[in-house]
């Protein structure tokens, strides 16, 4: 597949390099693309189909019905329970990410309707510490599921994560159990949960709430797995197979329901939610 060749050449960051003003260079094929065209194509390269990473706000704009979004995240802020210091103290790191992204931690979301279906929409922000899950992300996912259960809403989570947040140690690990258990509050009310896996989603997020959805979509080419490719390469001491852990590979291995082009994603999400959402009277 052409896409596969491109992924190899892709720059690590995954975000299109923004050449001043009108033109943008595709992070995969390096084509110069007219900025407005790229935006219109939802940051999918019109030349090669590469799905550029987009901000959490853009995800909300893409999926929520216009004017329906009402944020609920942002009040929970990270602490430093371990007094963690590596090359810099954890609170310093946090401050930098907070300044860069304008939010307290790696998650953004709230109430919305999606194709008219009442939803709690949560988006992980890879720009914040690689979308890593610590106490705040865990708590927000948990509250999101609880809110959905309480208000009879569907749950939609856009995942992007390098895994658990090391700087909060075992507390980060515990978020895997906490978020998983919170989903049962939702399921007990027969409310649907759709997960959208974007590039990359690995580690503790993949091994908890992100893969427990009723329906799992993944973006084309998204890398999704438990262990990261580097760790695996170290373990098996040989090159990884072509396309390994990519969305298309996942589908072949029965792990996701569909690889969905971002330009068709809203439509497909709306159809799925409308078929799964219990509607009036059922949810209670």
């Amino acid at each position: 597949m052409a896409l596969d060749r491109l992924f190899r050449r892709r720059r690590t960051r995954g975000q299109a390099r923004e050449v001043p003003e009108l033109w943008v260079r595709c992070a995969a094929c390096e084509a110069q693309v007219y900025r407005k065209d790229l935006e219109q194509a939802l940051w999918v390269c019109p030349e090669c189909g590469y799905h550029h990473r987009i901000s959490a706000e853009r995800w909300v704009a893409l999926l929520a019905d216009e004017g329906s979004f009402e944020p609920t995240t942002g009040r929970v802020r990270p602490a430093d329970p371990l007094g963690f210091v590596d090359t810099e103290p954890y609170p310093e790191r946090l401050r930098r990410y907070q300044e860069k992204t304008g939010r307290p931690d790696a998650i953004h979301g709230g109430r919305a309707t999606v194709g008219g279906v009442p939803t709690v929409l949560l988006v992980m922000d890879y720009a914040f510490a690689g979308g890593s899950m610590g106490s705040v992300v865990g708590e927000e996912i948990t509250r999101g599921a609880e809110l959905a259960a309480e208000e009879n809403r569907a749950l939609v989570i856009v995942a992007a994560s390098g895994g658990a947040r090391m700087q909060e140690g075992a507390l980060s690990l515990m978020q895997m159990a906490k978020t998983t258990m919170a989903l049962d509050r939702l399921f007990a009310k027969r409310l649907p949960y759709v997960s959208i896996l974007t590039d990359p989603t690995t580690g503790g997020v993949t091994a908890s709430f992100a893969t427990l959805a009723d329906v799992i979509f993944a973006e084309p080419g998204a890398l999704v797995g438990f262990a990261g490719p580097r760790v695996i390469k170290q373990t098996i001491r040989q090159d990884l197979p072509e396309g390994f852990q990519r969305a298309e590979f996942l589908q072949k291995h029965g792990l996701i329901d569909a690889v969905v082009d971002r330009r068709q994603l809203k439509e497909q999400l709306v159809q799925t939610l409308s078929l799964l959402y219990p509607g009036e009277g059922h949810g209670a």
Binding site: A164, E168, A177, F226, H253
Partner: protein, 316 residues
């Protein structure tokens, strides 16, 4: 096979033994010298084991001779019938389990299983499960619910296997499902971190109503080596990482991640597994006793609440 930091102790022990042998062989009286040396040994032991660094504890957790899941099962349970296979793909030797009798009561038990030597370790993939191992664990959870028996899980893994085969068969998916399945148990679930509690591969069978940890076991979101490789770009900084991760029993107790530390024998469980097992036996009996009489719904709710409150953050 001695660990670096326990060498002085072992050397002193050897000297005492030698002296005792000489005394008995030659009919001499070294009792005074021996007493002195024994006192010194005691001081040395207390000094070293009273001030273990996190990294030293990690090494103890991995030390050969430390009781594995099957050792513990053999020591603590009157009977054990091992059940095998995930009924779908393979039998994963990195996870063992079955039905057992514990102080007269039937229980269902599961645990990571490391080898006790290199050959065994290869057969058991060093205690790193594939998806089929977790499916076996889930099958045993089903059995616990079906029979209404308490569920006991022993955690001792460097982590789930990070290989191509495991990823192809949905390692992340199966860990998530195992966490979910265990959280839904309607019977009391007690978890014991025996040695290594490596990340999601440990948590997959770690969702207990109560989580105990053996002295000098560790439980962490990532191994010190991997953490060091990422944060300091050097696996040799593992010692610093071990410190920073707060992965020791006492740290975890303070964080609420575990509920009870099972004290270990002087010199570490690998030097005296019987003593370690005796302590564990007592702790397990008490913990199971604690959970008795709760209704299935109360058990479930208790577990939900235990995990719901984990996490430290500020609220604006």
């Amino acid at each position: 096979m001695a660990l670096e930091f326990e060498r002085p102790i072992l050397e002193l022990e050897a000297r005492i033994q030698e002296l005792e042998r000489t005394a008995s062989e030659q009919g001499l009286d070294f009792s005074e010298e021996i007493e002195l040396l024994k006192a010194k040994l005691d001081r040395l032991q207390r000094e070293i084991f009273g001030n273990l660094t996190a990294w030293q504890r990690v090494q103890l957790a991995r030390a050969p001779g430390r009781p594995t899941t099957l050792d513990v099962i053999e020591a603590l349970f009157e009977e054990f019938a091992e059940l095998r296979g995930d009924r779908a793909f393979a039998d994963d030797a990195a996870i063992v389990g079955g039905v057992a009798r514990f102080h007269g009561e039937e229980v269902v038990v599961v645990g990571h299983q490391k080898g006790r030597n290199t050959r065994e370790n290869i057969a058991r993939n060093f205690g790193m499960p594939h998806p089929e191992g977790y499916r076996k664990a889930m099958r045993l959870m089903d059995l616990a619910d079906k029979t209404g028996r308490p569920f006991i899980a022993f955690v001792d893994t460097p982590g789930a296997y990070p290989g191509v085969s495991a990823e192809e068969r949905g390692q992340a998916w199966v860990i998530a499902r195992s966490i979910q399945r265990m959280s839904r148990l309607k019977v009391p679930a007690v978890v014991v971190i025996l040695g290594e509690g490596g990340s999601g591969g440990a948590l997959a069978i770690g969702v207990g109503n109560r989580v105990l940890i053996m002295e000098n076991a560790w439980y962490s979101v990532i191994s010190p080596e991997s953490c060091a490789a990422i944060l300091w770009r050097d696996a040799k900084e593992a010692e610093r990482a071990a410190e920073a991760l707060k992965l020791t029993a006492r740290d975890l107790l303070r964080l609420g991640v575990v509920d009870r530390v099972v004290p270990g024998p002087k010199g570490g469980a690998h030097r005296n597994p019987e003593a370690a097992c005796r302590e564990l036996d007592r702790a397990l009996v008490e913990t199971l006793e604690d959970l008795k009489g709760l209704s299935p719904e109360a058990i479930w709710e208790d577990r939900y609440r235990r995990f719901r409150r984990l996490g430290v953050f500020e609220e604006v």
